[in-house]
Amino acid sequence: MSEKVNAAQAPKLRKDMTKWQWIRREMNKNKIGYLMVAPYYLVFLTFTVVPVFASLFLSLTQFNMLEPPIFIGVDNYIRLLLDDDIFLLACSNTLIFATMTGPVSYLLCLMFAWFINELTPRIRAVVTLIFYAPSISGQVYLIWQTLFSSDQYGWINGTLMKLGITAGPILWFQDKRYIMTLVIVVALWTSLGTSFLSFIAGFQVVDKSLYEAAAVDGIKNRWQELWYVTLPVMKNQMMFAAIMSITSSFGFGAIVTALCGFPSVDYAAHTIMHHLEDYGGQRWEVGYASAIATILFAIMIGCNLLVNKILSKVGK
């Protein structure tokens, strides 16, 4: 009892303490704060951090989901990188998708947002809704399946045959030659989502007086205004949008499955996500699937770092 009182009476300085003592003291001081973040962190740890590490561990094993995993070292990685043609195909498909739904869609979003920002508020609201609707309405991309139905009475097939352009129905989502293009179109259409919205928001926060100041400083045209004033101001929104679109571009799998079936014909639109699903879900090789996931994880982190680098160049 008396010891505690003494400790409280004599205020200690950081340099008087060991690191752990200090940490304990700080934690004690901020315990309300810790208490408040605890629920989230517990959930986050259990459902995000632990699985990531579990997956890292499983990627070193052979695991069929029903029997205990067998440790096999880096065999999965060796097989994945050196002896899996389909993985390479999936990588290339993923990169194409990622480029299209990542940077391309990102720039498109930026452009659209910029144009829309120039409109009057009422029209802006309507146009925003039109652009944003595809990505909020869940499975709305399934209308593409109706449009491009393989049946001769499908909308596009029917129209093309009526106009005499094609003689018979085309199996849009089962024909290697069309799958990729179609899926990319659908992907672009649905990807004008979160990033688009955050850009719109970003444009709203730019202080108008900055433009006046810039004009005084000698900005010549709208492009310069965009590059030197608008974009640097909304860097946070851009970062957020970039991360969102990268993550989603790599995770782009469900739409392909819904449209082309699983797997797509001749793996024409097979992405890393599909490869993962194939091994994890269909072949029950969770070890191997974890290895795929780990690599996908690494690629995503790499991309985020890259984007960070690029964004830091904005306005310079």
């Binding site: 989901m65 029903l66 005499g164 089962q174 290697k176 001749d266």
Partner: protein
């Protein structure tokens, strides 16, 4: 010029068809004689000829309206003619006919001795009659609905061995069903059987056959009056051909039907009878009827109103009957009968509390019988108006509230679904739709499904009758629309559709240049007309109760709860939803997890099926064996994580057992090889189950079995099954297991069959193809008429199986074999799954021929089967036979116009045709959890839980349970919910027609299972890729396939290694060691 050409073509077609028929019928006759000579049960191979011939008859026959106008001037009969049923014409009658000369018949409530005659679901019963003078006769039959499979009893009326008009083809004799009286069941108190949570359980129905009389009339109720048949003076024959189910009859009477009095006359008759002098209000609870016409009509729960009697928020009470779900009291001819007691003689009002929320703007019609008689003419058409709420109204015909004369005592009241005022309108439109469909096919045969609007097709020269017909239909529809407007009082959504079709027809009929461009519209309009017809014909009605009160009492019972009452009810329901245990819905015993005498079973079916299963488990399985079962309805995909976590079930239904089996999550059934006595009970062994319920048909077990004697780690260490290091002949309980491990018992079975449209085939003079060569000829004929055939993509597999190729390579591909090939032998089994057989010559040929249907013959790859089959542009298709259900529901307008038959086959060297069809099996398996009470050193069979699980499994696949499940499913969801049981007896026990049963039976004889080896998913995947490569990119079939064979084999080998199965290299080593490798093998 082109007319002439067309005629020539037609003549050629008829000629070819004729030529086709001849050899075919020859074959059929030969086959028949050969078989009957051999003394086997005669299986009618000429079935297609039979049913097609019937179809021809039917298609040339006129409808009743035309029939009546043809015999307009014939007077009604004056004399009554009674036919002695025992004295049938023995020459013309066919099939099994049983005569009982001293049977008991109930006539007018009294038992009489009389002769009766019983017919089965096949054959004909024909009588000679002598007609004194030409007249119109109605036919009244005294019949007894003999218990059968519970389907509707259908007969075809034949006069002079012909169907007089098309409606006479469907004569329905209704059955009588009543609720099985549970303990203490009575019609007054709430005594339905309840589960542990006090939810009332659906009453089980049983047949309560009685002697009935039926005056033949339209089963669709399009004609309110009974049929009249014209019989000229002299000798005639009259009789019935069986369409389904057995039937016993005691008399047939030809007579003129007396007209029923009108309501005016009725009132006149009882004008001296005062309104009943009583304040008593007799209440009939609708949910407890005396009898119903079908077992699907049973008590239902209603939660929508607070004052439905009775109502509860904490339990499900069966408080109403009828409603819109399923086929419950909304199809013409379905009836419900109640009984009630009246305190005083007098005039009464009959007031039902009802709900009709479906036919917006229209009404539901019912025909009323009191004590078996329609009291007056207007009671043929009682109307129940549309409203979103419950209503209480006196029985009325839309304008007059009826009073009824009731004597003191017990009465019966029966309400039958009718069409009433809508009958004529619907009849006209129904006939129109049929004709419009015919026109569509005729136009299609000229233009193809994709007409060019700029081509001059010269319709007015080629099909002038169609153009004229369209103009006539247009006028007719306009007329009907006006009539409908009058009936329902104003234009509405119901008349709009008619006006639109009429307008389009007018344009197309008047201007032939518009036909090509409007054809797509035309087609979709016929479709919507059909849909409208269907929904308008349905007459749903839900009843809570019927009140009988004195005609002096004008006060109606309250129809809906007041505002506060409703709010209280909703709030209470909401609160109770937190406490009600939905999981144990229907359970009659509590499940105790630690009780070794209780098992947990998981199913992934629908809720309805789960409820049936629950009830079956309780009153059959648990009652019989005393094992309590926790039945859980789970989402698909839950089993895997649950098994991984060790909290899975003991028995799982409807999943792929081999996938789980090779990962040691399933207990092989081979453990239970021996019949054993366990806990004083005789339990069948695995082989016995196989023999008893599956006729020892190995094909059914092929997809559930892994075949490999050399797999070392057979089953995890927990289950010591062999002490021997040499696993080839591991011995379990004295049973030799030569490497064959079966992981499940088949519960459902699916396979493709050939669906075809009888009417289109008759119209075009085609025969149903027996071989693939026939298919080729047929497709040529079809494409003349711009029609197509639908193929399934399992075609290559079908052909491989029909030519005797296997899906995987067998040992014969590696070893030089001498002597007989014994397909059941161990040597054969051990190689299954090592390599795919898709690169064999036979397989490549099969694959090529399959792709040719799409490339060379241009048949559609992707098509909407149900829709195109319905319009008839795809009159033949290979599809899973379970689509039967879909077609029955989706396209009732073509019911009777199509059937499924066995697949076309490949002619073998000995002249027989192989019709093999590949099967898909769904099964029931025992999870390893079931043996978790095992102690070290014990065998699986010593686990009590495992034994119980095994008992459950064999109970479930048993004929009794399967048959009951099928019947109950039909009872709940209607005849279109047939259950595709893998148990042949149970499948046949369902309500198929004789012809359907015959067709199914034929295909059942040639089914083939595909082995499930590790990595099997890859075969289907790459076959699919190869297929699209051919059809999309015009690649040569064999090359496309061969390009994938290595990939397939690599994956198979990899998977086999992973699970410790014998691989090709190991196998070859073994062969070399034994010196029996194939010398010719270049690899």
């Amino acid at each position: 010029m082109s007319m002439l050409k067309h005629k020539n073509r037609l003549a050629a077609l008829i000629l070819t068809a004729g030529m086709l028929v001849q050899p075919l019928s020859g074959v059929a006759v030969n086959a028949e004689t050969a078989e009957s000579e051999a003394g086997k049960t005669v299986d009618d191979t000429s079935y297609t000829l039979n049913s097609l011939a019937d179809m021809k008859d039917l298609m040339v026959s006129i409808n009743y309206e035309q029939y009546l106008s043809e015999h307009e001037n014939v007077p009604d009969a004056k004399k009554e003619i009674v036919i002695d049923v025992a004295d049938y014409n023995k020459e013309l009658s066919k099939g099994e006919i049983t005569v009982n000369n001293n049977d008991t018949v109930v006539r007018d409530g009294k038992e009489v001795k009389a002769s009766t005659v019983t017919t089965t679901d096949e054959g004909r019963l024909i009588y000679d009659v002598e007609i004194p003078e030409e007249a119109m006769y109605s036919v009244t039959v005294e019949y007894y609905p003999v218990e059968g499979n519970g389907a509707t009893i259908e007969r075809i009326l034949l006069i002079d061995e012909k169907i007089p008009f098309s409606e006479a083809r469907y004569m329905n004799f209704s059955r009588i069903w009543k609720d099985i009286e549970e303990k203490g069941y009575s019609r007054e108190a709430r005594t339905f059987k309840v589960d542990i949570n006090r939810n009332e359980m659906r009453p089980v129905k049983t047949e309560a056959p009685e002697w009935c009389t039926l005056t033949l009339s339209d089963s669709q109720m399009f004609y309110v009056e009974p049929f009249k048949f014209c019989l000229g003076e002299g000798k005639h024959t009259i009789g019935f051909e069986s369409a389904s189910e057995p039937l016993k009859i005691a008399s047939i009477k030809l007579h003129a039907v007396e007209p029923i009095m009108t309501y005016e006359e009725y009132l006149e008759k009882y004008k001296n009878v005062p309104d009943a002098n009583t304040d008593e209000i007799v209440m009939i609870h609708a949910e407890t009827p005396l009898t119903t016409s079908e077992q699907v009509i049973y008590a239902m729960n209603d939660r929508t109103s607070a004052i439905t009697i009775p109502q509860a928020t904490d339990a499900t009470l069966l408080n109403t009957i009828g409603g819109n779900g399923g086929d419950k009291w909304k199809t013409q001819g379905q009836w419900i009968e109640w009984t009630f007691e009246v305190p005083e003689t007098g005039m009464y009002y009959i007031v039902p509390r009802f709900k009709q929320t479906i036919n917006a703007g229209l009404f539901s019609s019912r025909k009323l019988y009191i004590d078996g008689e329609v009291p007056f003419l207007e009671a043929n058409d009682l109307q129940f108006k549309y409203s979103s709420d419950w209503q209480t109204e006196c029985l009325n015909d839309g304008s007059t509230k009826f009073k009824f004369y009731l004597e003191k005592g017990t009465h019966k009241i029966k309400l039958e679904v009718a069409l009433g005022k809508m009958a004529e309108i619907l009849r006209t439109i129904s006939a129109s739709t049929d004709r419009l469909n015919g026109y569509y096919r005729k136009i299609l045969m000229i233009t193809g499904s994709d007409p060019d609007q700029y081509t001059d097709y010269q319709f007015s020269k080629l099909i002038p009758d169609v153009l004229r017909g369209m103009r006539e239909e247009s006028a007719k529809l306009k007329e009907v629309s006006a009539q409908l407007e009058q009936t329902i009082g104003g234009k509405g959504e119901n008349t709009v559709i008619l006006d639109r079709v009429s307008y389009l027809l007018d344009i197309m009929g008047k201007d032939q240049d518009k036909i090509a461009s409007s054809l797509a519209n035309y087609k979709s309009y016929i479709g919507s007309l059909g849909t409208w017809l269907l929904s308008t014909k349905a007459q749903p009605l839900q009843l809570d109760y019927i009140v009988v009160q004195s005609a002096s009492n004008d006060k109606m019972p309250k129809a809906e709860a007041g505002f506060f009452e409703s709010v209280a009810h909703e709030v209470k329901s909401f609160i109770m939803s937190f406490f009600v245990d939905y999981n144990s819905m229907g359970a009659s015993t509590k499940y105790d997890k630690d009780n070794p005498n209780a098992i947990e079973v998981w199913i992934t079916d629908g809720r309805d099926q789960a409820t049936i299963m629950r009830q079956m488990v309780d009153d059959s399985f648990t009652a019989q064996y005393g094992i309590s079962v926790n039945l859980k309805l789970i989402a698909a995909g839950t089993l895997l994580p649950a098994t991984l976590a060790g909290s899975g079930p003991d028995v799982s239904m409807d999943l792929d057992p081999v996938g789980y089996g090779i990962r040691n999550a399933v207990i092989p059934l081979n453990y239970f090889e021996n019949t054993n006595k366990y806990m004083g009970e005789e339990i069948l062994g695995f082989s016995d189950v196989k023999a008893k319920y599956f006729d020892n048909n190995e094909e059914f077990f092929v997809p559930l079995t892994v075949l490999d004697p050399d797999r070392r780690e057979f089953v995890g260490k927990e289950y010591p099954i062999y002490d021997d290091d040499d696993a080839e002949f591991a011995v379990v309980n004295g049973v030799e297991r030569n490497g064959v491990v079966t992981y499940g018992l088949p519960s459902r079975l699916d396979f493709p069959m050939l669906f075809y449209r009888k009417d289109v085939f008759t119209e075009m003079g085609l025969e149903v193809p027996q071989t693939w060569d026939d298919v080729e000829t047929m497709i040529r004929a079809l494409s003349e008429g711009q029609l197509e055939m639908g193929f399934a993509q399992t075609l290559a597999q079908i052909r491989m199986y029909q030519t005797g190729e296997e899906w995987y390579k067998s040992c014969y591909d590696y070893e030089d074999y001498e002597g007989e090939k014994d397909l059941q032998s161990r040597e054969y089994l051990r190689t299954v799954g090592i390599q795919t057989n898709l690169d064999s010559n036979g397989a490549l040929d099969a694959f090529q021929r399959m792709t040719e249907w799409f490339t060379l013959y241009g048949q559609p790859i992707a098509y909407d089967f149900a829709n195109r089959f319905r319009t008839g542009e795809l009159p033949i298709a290979i599809q899973s036979y379970t689509l039967y259900n879909q077609l029955k529901v989706f396209a009732p307008e073509i019911s009777g116009l199509w059937e499924f038959v066995q697949l076309p086959g490949v002619e073998q060297e000995d002249g027989t045709i192989n019709h093999n069809s590949p099967i898909t099996i769904t099964s029931i398996m025992m999870m390893r959890n079931a043996a978790d009470d095992l102690k070290p050193g014990q065998d699986v069979t010593e686990s009590q839980r495992a034994q119980n699980a095994w008992k459950y499994m064999q109970w479930w696949v048993g004929t009794e349970a399967q048959e009951r499940f099928g019947k109950e499913q039909v009872a709940i969801m209607g005849t279109a919910a047939k259950y595709n049981s893998a148990n042949v007896e149970a499948l046949k026990g369902q309500s198929w027609t004789a012809q359907e049963k015959k067709n199914l039976n034929q295909q059942f004889k040639s089914l083939k299972g595909t082995p499930m080896s590790p990595g099997n998913y890859i075969v289907a995947r790459y076959t699919n890729f190869a297929f699209y490569k051919v059809v999309d990119e015009d690649e040569v079939a064999s090359e496309a396939m061969l390009g994938y064979v290595d990939d397939i084999n690599n994956e198979l080998t990899r998977k086999r290694k992973e699970y410790g199965f014998l691989t090709l290299d190991e196998y070859k080593e073994q062969l070399e060691a034994k010196g029996i490798g194939k010398k010719t093998d270049s690899e």
